[in-house]
């Protein structure tokens, strides 16, 4: 492909960078798809529109990240090939983003936990030694700031709301908490990338993440549960049963009509 031939070099592709871009791109692609499921089903019109807009931002970020991944890999795969023609075991997203959307409280709590991580992560990624990745982080951080403003507002409002809304969003937190550990696992790929200054070491993001999360939970009168977090194996293609179902729906059009554009 033209995109690959333009930038491919004789040296072997940077597989660590490729892996990182898949992890970051897949998180956003899968979460964006989950949010898009709300389109036409939001609790109020304004929220329907907000969720669709956030989904669009995330899918847009995924498109850029997976596009760059394809260029780095240099094997002729573009963003569409990576999004639509990989199997679940090849996806590198964390489990948190693939869980079913649940009720509105579950969707907002998951969004909030992810947004806080993403906001801190992108903040550090802006200093990446990889100029293009730093640029994408700069752009995405601005978008993510508005996502977090939105999700933090809702978590505070639902938690410190009615008995019903409080119970539901606390239940969501109880169910989601154990999936947050995966965000902070540093494997050998992360360690090498951190050493090269390409991306932050995930383990170093836990403290700032917890600080922001606890600030909002306190305002929301919610309590983080004392449950062990599922951390390993992280981002190696081990998924819950839910990802396969999500991909079946997301990928069927592209697989049934290869090359179709709309």
């Amino acid at each position: 492909m033209a995109a690959a031939s333009g930038s491919s070099r004789s040296s072997s592709p940077d597989l660590d960078l490729f892996e990182l871009l898949l992890r970051l791109g897949d998180d956003r692609l899968v979460l964006g798809h989950r949010l898009s499921e709300w389109c036409g089903h939001g609790p109020i019109l304004e929220e329907d529109i907000a969720l669709a807009n956030i989904a669009l931002d995330l899918v847009g970020q995924a498109n850029l990240l997976l596009g760059l991944a394809g260029t780095v890999e240099g094997a002729g795969r573009d963003a569409d090939a990576l999004a639509y023609f990989r199997e679940a075991v090849e996806f590198r997203n964390c489990r948190l983003v693939e869980l079913p959307r649940g009720d509105f409280g579950m969707t907002m709590m998951r969004q909030f936990l992810f947004d806080v991580w993403s906001w801190h992560h992108l903040g550090r990624l802006r200093e990446s030694s990889h100029a293009e990745l730093a640029g994408l982080a700069e752009r995405s951080r601005k978008e993510t700031t508005y996502h977090l403003r939105h999700s933090s507002t809702w978590v505070a409002r639902l938690g410190d709301g009615t008995e019903e809304s409080h119970a539901r969003v606390q239940q969501a937190l109880n169910e989601l908490w154990r999936f947050t550990g995966e965000l902070f696992v540093t494997d050998e790929v992360d360690a090498r990338l951190a050493e090269r200054g390409v991306a932050p070491d995930p383990a170093t993001l836990r403290e700032p993440w917890e600080e922001t999360v606890r600030e909002v939970l306190a305002r929301a009168t919610l309590h983080a549960p004392e449950v062990p977090v599922v951390a390993r194996p992280a981002r190696r293609g081990d998924h819950t049963e839910h990802l396969g179902h999500l991909l079946a729906e997301m990928q069927i059009l592209a697989r049934s009509h290869p090359g179709a554009s709309w």
Binding site: N53, N63, T145
Partner: protein, 169 residues
């Protein structure tokens, strides 16, 4: 058809003012700060544009209209390149563009570089947005996301008009 010698980068920038943002049709892409560079190489013209948001669905339409507009003026060998670094900011919008937005009923972003936006959605962190209709600063944020990702939804307490605000970005 060869590009006539009269064609300059300045002339192309003028032509590009015919290309409007499909989401905000009172603004052209030059005054929005989307056009980063115009490069002439022999008969080829390259227009560099910076997308606003990662997922902005208007970008493909804008790219097609750049090519169509230039073609209509005899410039057929034009390509559009997306440039992501540095990231687009509302600080690149001209004063004229901000005034056009206000007249159109959309509260514009403040002039100058966009200040960092606080990540948590509560507390006294949001600058008051003045109503584009009556000018009152007594307005309420309804939703961080309006009809598009780049706009938020507000309500004026003085004239009771709902309105959108082009968010600082």
């Amino acid at each position: 058809m060869a590009v006539s010698p009269a064609i300059t980068a300045e002339r192309i920038r003028e032509l590009l003012r015919e290309v409007k943002d499909p989401e905000v049709p009172v603004l052209d892409i030059v005054e929005m700060g989307l056009v980063r560079d115009v490069v002439l190489e022999g008969d080829d013209v390259r227009v560099d544009i910076t997308p606003t948001y990662s997922g902005c669905p208007a970008m493909e339409v804008i790219e097609a209209e750049v090519r169509d507009t230039l073609a209509a003026h005899g410039i057929t060998r034009a390509t559009v390149r997306r440039v992501f670094v540095p990231a687009w900011t509302t600080g690149w919008m001209t004063d004229e563009a901000r005034e056009k937005l206000r007249a159109y009923g959309i509260a514009p972003p403040a002039p100058g570089p966009a200040e960092p936006v606080a990540p948590l959605g509560f507390g006294p962190t949001v600058r008051a947005v003045s109503c584009p209709f009556c000018g009152s600063p007594d307005t309420v944020l309804e939703s961080t996301f309006g009809s598009t990702a780049c706009k938020s939804l507000h309500r004026c307490e003085a004239c009771h008009q709902p309105f959108e605000h082009f968010k600082p970005h």
